[in-house]
């Protein structure tokens, strides 16, 4: 018998019992759909975070203060960090060969107001080198200048989103805003970068000179203590010189902090790769967890198919008897049921992919706190989900099909 005949018989049989076919497919549809949607959401989260940090470039290293006395990993936590880094440290690091720019940066949350509009933003206090180190280009106006820093000027550069929320489509440069009750002049607006990290859009920042930040906005109560620097971004001429520059930074800071030979560092040097690695580890666990849930639903769908196939073969024992009585061979019966199982799982998988894709697209439309979770469907996942569903269909169809094909026609006819 030709394969096309099996195909026709299988289609007829599936159409003849639509409810059963649909219910069987439903398990696979939900399973495959869940795999596609969840992995797409996970991959999307990973991609958006990764792209954000990849833009920063590989030729930047960061120095952050630590607490050498804190136990274990707490030593590296910003929560326990001592204010060991100073602006003077940053200035000293600028003298290292192959260092292009040094951007000591502090950050905090502030409310920025302009007239009746206000926006909650992340404020960065930094130096002109920040622009290049973090890869910002200007939408209008200009970035901070060395002059701004040395004069503790009340000037601010707005992130694209912050500018839009405060001033709408009208020009922000030259306007006044209020931060912590003080008037600031907008000198520039950053080009929006898109992307976000942990729910905060990187375009929702405002940038002021580090000196202004320290002296005017977040001044220490006791004037004798210099406010520490939270992070120093150091831009290098190229990624190749990274190792020697890191050694140099370490040597200079240890000397400046008067650390003895066996003292621990009171700072840490973090590279772009390390940051990216940590973030990918976190989102990777997240994606794996989602995939696990999706895998379980696919498995449940498979068990559903197996269940229905068993019931269906038993229920159709008489049909098998009739077919064998008029000349169907063992192979014919086997292939008929395998075809049915394969078609059920294939079409279920197909619908599941479409459904999952629609759902993933829908998810991409939803904004959570001004942030879009872009779902990314990978072809690997699609291929995997389809192969798993067809595999499950065939395996679960195989056992009842073999059982059915072995029946003696008379025994099968007597059934039911």
């Amino acid at each position: 018998m030709k394969l096309i005949q099996f195909f026709i018989i299988a289609v007829r049989s599936l159409l003849a019992n639509k409810l059963r076919s649909v219910l069987t497919m439903l398990g696979i549809i939900i399973g495959v759909g869940a795999v596609i949607t969840l992995t797409a959401a996970g991959a999307g989260a990973q991609a958006s975070v990764t792209s954000l940090f990849q833009e920063l470039g590989t030729n930047v290293v960061y120095v952050q203060p630590t607490n050498p006395e804190a136990p274990g990993m707490a030593r590296f936590s910003p929560v326990f960090a001592l204010p060991t880094l100073t602006l003077e440290d940053a200035a000293a690091l600028a003298a290292i060969p192959n260092v292009i720019g040094v951007a000591p940066t502090n950050e905090n949350f502030v409310e920025v107001t302009a007239g009746s509009e206000s926006v909650a933003a992340i404020i960065h206090g930094t130096t002109p080198a920040y622009q290049q180190a973090f890869g910002h280009s200007m939408a209008s106006g200009q970035f901070l200048t060395d002059n701004n820093v040395s004069s503790r000027a009340r000037v601010v550069v707005l992130g694209g989103k912050a500018a839009e929320e405060l001033f709408g489509p009208s020009e922000a440069v030259g306007q006044r805003v209020k931060i912590k009750g003080q008037r600031f002049t907008v000198t520039g607006v950053l080009e929006p970068k898109g992307g976000s990290f942990l729910g905060f859009s990187m375009d929702n920042i405002v940038v002021v000179p580090i000196t202004t930040y320290q002296a005017r906005l977040f001044a220490q109560r006791s004037a004798s203590v210099t406010e520490g620097i939270q992070s120093i971004a150091i831009q290098l001429t190229s990624a190749e010189v990274k190792d020697e520059v890191i050694d140099e930074i370490s040597a200079i800071l240890r000397q400046r902090h008067r650390l003895a030979e066996d003292d621990r560092d009171d700072f840490m040097i973090v590279t772009q790769e390390q940051v990216l690695g940590m973030i990918q580890q976190v989102t990777g666990v997240f994606t794996m967890f989602l995939s696990l849930i999706a895998g379980i639903s696919l498995l449940v769908g498979g068990i559903g198919i197996m269940n229905i196939m068993l019931v269906s073969v038993t229920e159709r024992t008489r049909e098998i008897g009739i077919r064998k009585a008029v000349g169907a061979k063992r192979r014919d019966v086997l292939l008929q049921f395998l075809f049915e199982a394969a078609m059920l799982s294939l079409s279920g998988g197909g619908i599941g992919i479409i459904g999952g894709w629609l759902l993933a697209t829908l998810i991409s439309r939803i904004e959570i706190g001004g942030q879009r979770l872009v779902a990314v469907i990978s072809p690997d996942t699609v291929v995997l989900a389809i192969s798993v569903s067809v595999f499950i269909g065939l395996v679960s169809g195989m056992y009842p099909a073999i059982r059915a094909s072995r029946l003696n026609p008379i025994d099968a006819l007597r059934y039911g």
């Binding site: 009739i322 000349g327 014919d332």
Partner: protein, 221 residues
Amino acid sequence: MGMVELENVTKVYRMGKLGVYALNGVSLSIREGEMVAIMGPSGSGKSTLMHIIGCLDKPTSGRYVFNGADISRLSDNRLAEMRSKELGFVFQEFNLLPRANALANVELPIVYGGGGRRRQHALDALERVGLKHRARHKPSELSGGEQQRVAIARALVNNPAILLADEPTGNLDSASTSEILSIFHQLHRDGITVVMVTHEAEIGAQAERIITLRDGRIVSQ
């Protein structure tokens, strides 16, 4: 030498540890073109005998030769081919596929046995039983007599030399019964060998020869 030759055929069913003889040493011969009725009380083994002649079941021992070929030695696949091409079988319960229409049911032996012009052969067979106009109807839309005629068309579609019918009128009213029987007589006149099982003496009397079974043995033929 007859078309159907049975030599000392037995069929034993295992019931737990006991073996039950459904057929106990049956020998018979049916010539080509004969019209034979197999009769006997319930449990006499007449259906089992028909299943063996129809290649639906294998004898436990003994020899069955059909048209000179030893059937008792054939593989399952060869038996399936016999069923689709050489023999036509009609059941008491019609045994049509409920979700397929009359035409598709009649086509089935050609689907499995191979061969072209399926639709044409199936329509011809339906015409032979006077049901060409009902080709697109499903079994549930047909009367019992019509369903049995579809089953006969299915048995005839590959032009078998022999038609085997196991209580073909057992589920039918008298009008349908006489319809079916007149079809059998017509087929017999066309030269087809007809063997039917019945327990009604009236029907048996219409055959040329009656084989009577009791307790798995032939008591008269």
